[in-house]
């Protein structure tokens, strides 16, 4: 199945990740101890034989290009296809900062048009899931759909969500775009779409020329009756990150072994940049429970219900609970942290006690010392 190309939006307007995306795109946000969000998208594509990919970036993309390099870690260093990165203003047709998906896609129309594939998947990059696009494609063909949109079941939060209703055959009959949180689970759009390339090109060109910027509102919602839009439900673990709370919550869900196996093995392996860290060393005072620990850590203290990224040092007597410590973190002796998201290279000095709340985890900005 080599007839599909992929377009990835590395940044998007809707997420509210504040400090965590101060210096990086959503796509390069670290997740699950050794990954970046884009690893899931890239791996799903590669595992589904989709190997001609364009990544549209807006700002802060050096962390992304540094992570991807030539795409070798995902087997995407190809003579034919592979990864092309499109920053704003990369060509004459890319005349804006991409105020939305329509402008972003318009800026890469040439790339899409000239690709040999007949179909295209466009996706956001704030999604951690293990998706088989081959079965999405089969579904699309079976339904004779114009657009297949992937959906999952969740409770809407305060971020912008597209809530869909489908008929018995799976055709989308109603779309509601909302930012009102609810405790009732609903079928929500994942911001992943599959369609024929020529149809997408027509839709984007027409909407761009009319000055539209909102893909969901100006295209999907408006044309839901004339276009055959079908919903493809993704089950198993689906982690969509759009604010600090969801980042924390989705990270912690990975401590569940069934969900973790689902994310990492369901349809194929999740690849990431290889850093050649040594195995993690547990010393005599180590006490680790229910935690996910990447390579290169050095653990002398207590780690409970937490996620440690690569190369985190935990000194004797330090206690890390319900927290996420990103690469290169250091927690000195006697320090205690609870409900903390420590970005890369954070140091918690001796005997410091810091705590957030489950409903409001505290973020410590990259490189800071507490």
């Amino acid at each position: 199945m080599n007839d599909i190309m992929g377009i990835i939006f590395a940044s998007d307007n809707e997420t509210k990740l504040n400090e965590l995306t101060l210096h990086r795109t959503t796509a390069s946000l670290p997740f699950c101890g050794r990954y970046r969000f884009i690893d899931f998208t890239l791996s799903n594509f590669v595992n589904s034989q989709i190997t001609n990919l364009g990544i549209i970036t807006r700002n802060n993309y050096s962390s992304l290009t540094d992570h991807i390099r030539m795409g070798r870690d995902w087997d995407l260093n190809r003579k034919n296809g592979g990864i092309a990165v499109f920053p704003p203003y990369f060509s004459n047709s890319a005349r804006s900062m991409n105020r939305g998906k329509i402008e972003a896609l318009y800026s890469v129309l040439d790339f899409i048009q000239h690709a040999p594939e007949e179909y295209v998947v466009v996706t956001n990059s704030n999604i951690a899931a293990n998706i088989d696009f081959e079965s999405v494609f089969n579904y699309h063909m079976e339904k004779g759909a114009d657009v297949t949109m992937l959906t999952y079941t969740a409770c809407p939060n305060t971020s912008r969500k597209v809530i869909v209703k489908e008929d018995m055959a799976g055709r989308v009959t109603d779309m509601r775009i909302t930012q009102t949180p609810s405790s009732t689970p609903a079928e929500i759009g994942l911001n992943i779409y599959l369609s024929r390339k020529d149809l997408l090109i027509d839709l984007i060109t027409d909407s761009y020329e009319r000055g539209y910027t909102d893909f969901e509102k100006n295209i999907l919602q408006q044309k839901k009756d004339s276009l055959k839009i079908y919903g493809y439900h993704v089950d198993g673990y689906v982690g969509v990150i759009d604010d600090i709370k969801s980042y924390y919550h989705e990270s912690m869900r990975i401590l569940d072994t069934n969900l973790r196996n689902d994310l990492f093995t369901r349809n194929g392996t999740i690849f990431t940049k290889v850093k050649d860290s040594v195995p993690t060393r547990y010393r005599d005072g180590a006490n680790v429970k229910n935690s996910l620990i990447a390579d290169g850590c050095d653990i002398n203290g207590t780690v409970i219900n937490s996620i440690l990224f690569r190369g985190v040092k935990v000194e004797a007597g330090a206690v890390i609970e319900n927290s996420i410590v990103m690469e290169g973190g250091k927690v000195c002796s006697g320090a205690k942290m609870s409900y903390i998201i420590a970005d890369k290279d954070v140091t918690i000095t001796e005997d410091k006690k810091i705590s957030g709340y489950e409903t409001y985890p505290m973020v410590i900005v990259k490189g800071k010392t507490v």
């Binding site: 699950c32 101890g33 050794r34 990954y35 070798r72 401590l255 072994t257 973790r260 990492f264 392996t269 999740i270 690849f271 990431t272 290889v274 050649d276 040594v278 195995p279 993690t280 060393r281 547990y282 010393r283 005599d284 005072g285 180590a286 006490n287 680790v288 429970k289 229910n290 935690s291 996910l292 620990i293 990447a294 390579d295 290169g296 050095d298 780690v303 996620i307 440690l308």
Partner: protein, 395 residues
């Protein structure tokens, strides 16, 4: 097609069967044996080469080459996928006449003279694939050049008792070798050869051709080439190396070297950004330590799921330790499983092996030469509640 000239080409002898590793090398060559959680033995010489600025390496394979070929691949994990140079796997091959297996270490290099000549090197570094150590070969090469040597042999100081197990280099004060003794009963010095040679290629080339012409020769560096060069008055020098070095050709030494990783005093530290050891990565998620886990003084690698007790052990990529299991002073190789309530003590559990629930493998040992390490062959399944005695090897 002429390759660009290289100052120094490395030839890595990786064809040995490693019979003294028993079932661990039944299906793979010794250099492909797992080490230290996420490495294989061959990662050490390959990483040493790239860390020393040597980017052209021929890997001489013969015994069970498939796993090794697959592991080395295009050399990318070691940054050895180069346009000029890089890593080449060199098995014996059919020639118009005189086709043969590699008969000895020197014959293996002899059969690849053409390969080496393509890079027109001044020097050839000969390495073996069964040692654990970190070394900057460029310093050894500098010493070779400075002394105008024909051959430089890396040596390490061993104890007098150990010396009779090694090839011993007897040297003058300035390091010039005047005598080489293979496993001497009464060693005159304690300079043990590490199996690392730098030759001036022009010289070595001549000696390889002469040695090949001699039907009596066993075509071995230690037995034939070095003595012949000494006999002719060539300039052979010892190069003293003082870091960690261990031959891991036996079950006990392989076990000890793994245990040395756990000992901060051993001198074997792999967590060094200036001299990383690279390995082919198997893309596993971080390891998970469960609510019932208790881990101390151990190494745990990506992809592991640990819910039992682990004491002073090395747990390799993707291994699983179930609730109630206890592992002490052992090496669990990649993908092995230790089921509920099993006990593993002073043992090596091979790749993908499984220890059934309640089984007992090995038992407490005193450290030292007579330490009896139990070995479970790769892929072998120890039945539930079965027992494998100390030092026993099952396959």
């Amino acid at each position: 097609m002429n390759s660009r000239k290289k100052e120094c080409v490395a030839m890595l002898l990786a064809g040995g069967q490693g019979t003294r590793l028993y079932s661990l090398t039944k299906n793979v060559a010794k250099p492909a044996v797992s080490f230290g959680g996420k490495y294989r033995i061959i990662d050490f010489p390959l990483s040493n080469c790239i860390n020393s600025g040597i980017d052209t390496i021929g890997v001489l394979t013969q015994y069970q080459p498939f796993a090794l070929n697959q592991y080395i691949g295009n050399g990318q994990p070691w940054d050895l996928d180069r346009l000029n140079g890089g890593v080449y796997v060199l098995p014996p091959y059919m020639k118009a006449k005189n086709s043969d297996w590699y008969k000895g270490t020197a014959n293996a290099i002899y059969q690849n003279i053409e390969f080496i000549d393509k890079f027109s090197p001044e020097y050839v570094l000969v390495l073996s694939g069964d040692h654990i150590y970190k070394m900057d070969y460029s310093e050894m090469l500098a010493s070779h050049k400075k002394r105008g040597a024909d051959c430089t042999i890396a040596v390490i100081n061993v104890s007098l008792e150990e010396a009779s197990r090694f090839g011993i280099m007897n040297t003058k004060e300035d390091g010039e070798i005047y005598e080489f003794e293979e496993k001497p009963k009464k060693p005159k010095s304690t300079n043990a050869s590490m199996g690392i040679y730098i030759f001036t290629w022009e010289k070595l080339r001549r000696y390889l051709i002469e040695d090949e012409a001699n039907k009596e020769s066993s075509n071995d560096f230690g037995k034939n080439i070095i003595p012949a060069m000494l006999g002719d008055g060539c300039k052979l020098y010892a190069y003293n190396f003082s870091g960690y070095w261990k031959d891991v050709g036996t079950i006990n030494s392989l076990w000890e070297a793994n245990m040395d990783l756990l000992d901060p005093e051993s001198g074997l530290n792999l967590d060094d950004d200036n001299h990383k050891i690279y390995a082919r990565n198997s893309a596993e998620p971080p390891h998970y330590t469960g609510v019932d886990a208790l881990i101390s003084n151990s190494l745990v690698t990506e992809g592991c799921e640990i819910d039992g007790e682990v004491v002073h052990s090395v747990i390799s990529t993707g291994a699983e330790v179930y609730k109630g299991a206890k592992i002490e002073h052992s090496i669990i190789m990649p993908g092995a499983k230790v089921r509920e309530g099993a006990r593993v003590s002073y043992a090596i559990v091979g790749d993908g092996a499984e220890i059934g629930a309640g089984a007992q493998v090995g038992s407490k040992q005193e450290k030292g030469e007579h330490c009896a390490i139990a070995v479970i062959a790769p892929g072998y399944k120890v039945e539930e509640n079965a027992s494998v005695k100390a030092g026993e090897m099952v396959e």
